[in-house]
């Protein structure tokens, strides 16, 4: 993974000291809240319902054990013993004191971490396939490109005062595990017919109040032109952006108002201008960054056979593993979705356990998935039983990856100032209703995603089953959506009809799921059946 050089260290330390001084001045009354707020937000510090919330950036979801132990230390020392992994592969602490925030950022800087660009009108933490560097189906590791773009754009003035936030994702496989087309700007690394590596480029995606799926705007972009192309995209957006209307500032609005063809035309025109300036980064700079992502020294000749004689272990194996590119290795998914737990939450002690496992069994690497789970990317199959035993003892061995209880849920009204309704209790009730492991496996892949407001941090637009919490005259109400997806066949979920109360939404989901069981054809997932049958076939079951 990327290692800070002298310049990086100096830059992040200087940023911490800047914020220390800004905080001191605010506490001394030398700055108003209006003056201080944009400064703290640029350092990931929000004010939420119960305290300040610090959002720590985890670039493309990659961590090492030292960083994870530092996150555990911060949770114990400055928060209440836990953290919450988000759908942007970041980590949030919900009980932070302003007077501690500079020290926390200083501690993060010690392990090459920060909270820059986790808020504000900037390029947010760039996300990537959480199996990057390990997946059997990728054509290359996409993280060097994510890192290159991160370095090119961080603190660059043209990318620092954008009309609105801007989200980028990078993947390198046909399978989309990063919700690519729900991003403002998304790159899929591909090979053309000549065997050259380039980017398939998408633009204009996003969830929130006005959801749009990104269009493809370039079938093949040579990798060396990415900076000039990104500048061209942002130039077009900056030129037309509705800075006068917060609800129309996101780039997705512009892309869909101009249309795929016209937006692409204007970008291509601008791109020619930027290309002529010759400011794209040199190949040597990419090579420097890519060297940090060289694959670990995988052993050869390892067996692929796994002793499955422990039945509980066998169940976990069948659900939590993904194919690794190296023979004898597997990708291990760690569920953070225990029944009755809080999705994405992890205690400081559990963080330490996972850090130890990464250090001992996974070349010191960890990944955060946008699904609010963790990944050990490089585990020898011969070590899987030992890994599972440790996870089991730490309460981290649930076998529910991509099943009905592997629910994405935002913090909702239990923590968030923007929320209209609670998300977590609904997720817990749904998980409790479908807790029977046999029933979960019988239902197969079924992705439920819950947001507590229209900002859609819980990705409800992309849920096979989505739930949106709304405020109905001071009472929590929940809308049900069906048919969304964030994979390579991206689709936007549609609202079924009138909303439900907290218990009613659980019953409605169960009725939809039972309808699926009744009408599914062999091999069909819930989403496949929905796409074949359509909304009407489900509405009747849901509303009677």
């Amino acid at each position: 993974m990327y290692k800070y050089d002298q310049y990086d260290h100096a830059m992040v330390r200087a940023r911490v000291e800047d914020f220390r001084d800004q905080t001191r001045r605010r506490l001394a009354g030398q700055m108003t809240d209006d003056q201080f707020k944009p400064l703290r937000l640029k350092n990931g510090l929000y004010l939420q319902l119960h305290a300040y919330m610090l959002r720590v950036a985890i670039p493309y979801g990659t961590l090492n054990s030292t960083q994870m132990r530092k996150l555990a230390h911060i949770a114990r020392t400055y928060d209440r013993g836990y953290g919450h992994f988000t759908t942007r592969q970041n980590l949030q602490y919900h009980w932070i004191k302003l007077e501690d925030a500079p020290d926390i950022l200083g501690e993060l800087a010690e392990v090459e971490m920060h909270a820059i660009q986790t808020s504000g009108e900037s390029i947010r933490n760039i996300s990537a396939d959480h199996y990057a560097g390990a997946a059997a189906d990728e054509i290359m590791d996409p993280r060097p490109w994510a890192e290159t773009i991160r370095q090119m754009t961080t603190f660059m003035p043209e990318f620092s005062y954008l009309p609105r936030k801007f989200k980028i994702a990078v993947i390198a496989a046909e399978a989309d595990r990063a919700a690519l087309r729900w991003h403002d700007f998304a790159l899929r690394i591909v090979r053309n017919e000549a065997g050259e590596v380039g980017f398939q480029v998408f633009a204009g995606g996003g969830m929130g109040r006005t959801p749009f799926i990104a269009y493809e705007i370039r079938e093949f972009l040579p990798t060396g032109q990415i900076l000039s192309y990104l500048q061209a995209v942002l130039r077009v957006w900056n030129r037309h952006a509705r800075r006068d209307n917060i609800h129309k500032q996101r780039m997705k609005i512009l892309v869909h108002e101009l249309g795929q063809e016209e937006f692409s035309r204007q970008v291509e025109e601008e791109h020619q201008h930027f290309l002529a300036l010759g400011e794209d980064f040199p190949q040597a700079e990419y090579d420097r960054i890519a060297a940090y992502f060289a694959p670990p020294a995988f052993e050869t000749g390892l067996p692929d056979e796994i002793d499955r004689s422990d039945p509980d272990f066998a169940v976990w194996l069948d659900q939590q593993l993904a194919p690794h590119k190296a023979p004898g290795y597997a990708i291990v998914n760690i569920s953070l979705k225990p029944i009755q737990g809080i999705g994405g939450d992890i205690t400081a002690d559990q963080m330490d356990v996972v850090a130890d496992l990464a250090e001992r069994y996974s070349f010191d690497e960890l990944r955060v998935a946008h699904t609010q789970n963790l990944v050990l990317p490089h585990v020898r199959k011969a070590d899987l039983y030992a890994v599972w035993e440790t996870l089991r003892d730490a309460g981290l061995a649930d076998a529910n990856l991509d099943l009905v209880t592997d629910i994405i849920a935002c913090p909702g009204l239990d923590y968030c100032t923007l929320a209209n309704a609670r998300s977590i209790p609904v997720a817990q009730k749904i998980a409790d209703r479908f807790a029977d492991p046999q029933r979960q496996r019988d239902l197969g892949e079924l992705k439920i995603k819950i947001s507590g407001c229209i900002n859609a941090c819980g990705h409800h637009h992309a849920g096979h089953i989505g739930v949106l919490g709304v405020d109905r005259k001071g009472t929590e109400s929940y809308q049900l959506l069906l048919g969304g997806s964030g994979d390579e066949e991206t689709s936007q979920a549609k609202i079924t009809g009138p909303g439900f109360d907290e218990d009613g939404i659980v019953d409605a989901i169960e009725r939809a799921v039972e309808r699926y069981r009744e009408v599914r054809e062999p091999g069909e997932r819930f989403l496949d059946t929905y796409r074949r049958v359509g909304m009407e076939g489900f509405k009747e079951a849901i509303y009677g």
């Binding site: 506490l27 319902l49 609670r422």
Partner: protein, 100 residues
């Protein structure tokens, strides 16, 4: 009745105006009548509270002090409903019901 709430500037804790200063217990909240803007301006200038605002509330029919009208403020007063151990009343089995 109208009461004032905000977050303590230094530590972010939810606080309620009790007539003299800021309390972490909503039960202490005082009816500010038409003085909300004046109190908030003074307290903001003194850097004691962040993001202060006035809300509607009513005396709690169960005799537990003051109950904010909106669920968001009741959750602020109590803590996250999904983590009773982190609330101000971790041992009170009825506290969650008060919120909802």
């Amino acid at each position: 009745m109208k009461i004032l709430t905000g977050n303590d500037l230094k530590n972010g804790r939810v606080v309620w105006w009790d007539g003299q200063g800021w309390s972490i217990h909503v039960e202490d909240a005082a009816d500010v009548g038409d003085q909300a803007d004046a109190i908030l301006a003074r307290e903001d200038a003194a850097c004691r509270v962040n993001g202060g605002y006035a809300i509607e509330a009513e005396p709690d029919p169960a005799g537990r002090g003051v109950r904010p009208a909106h669920i968001k403020d009741r959750i602020r007063a109590y803590g996250p409903t999904v983590r009773p151990d982190l609330t101000l009343k971790p041992a009170d089995p009825n506290a969650g019901t008060w919120v909802i």
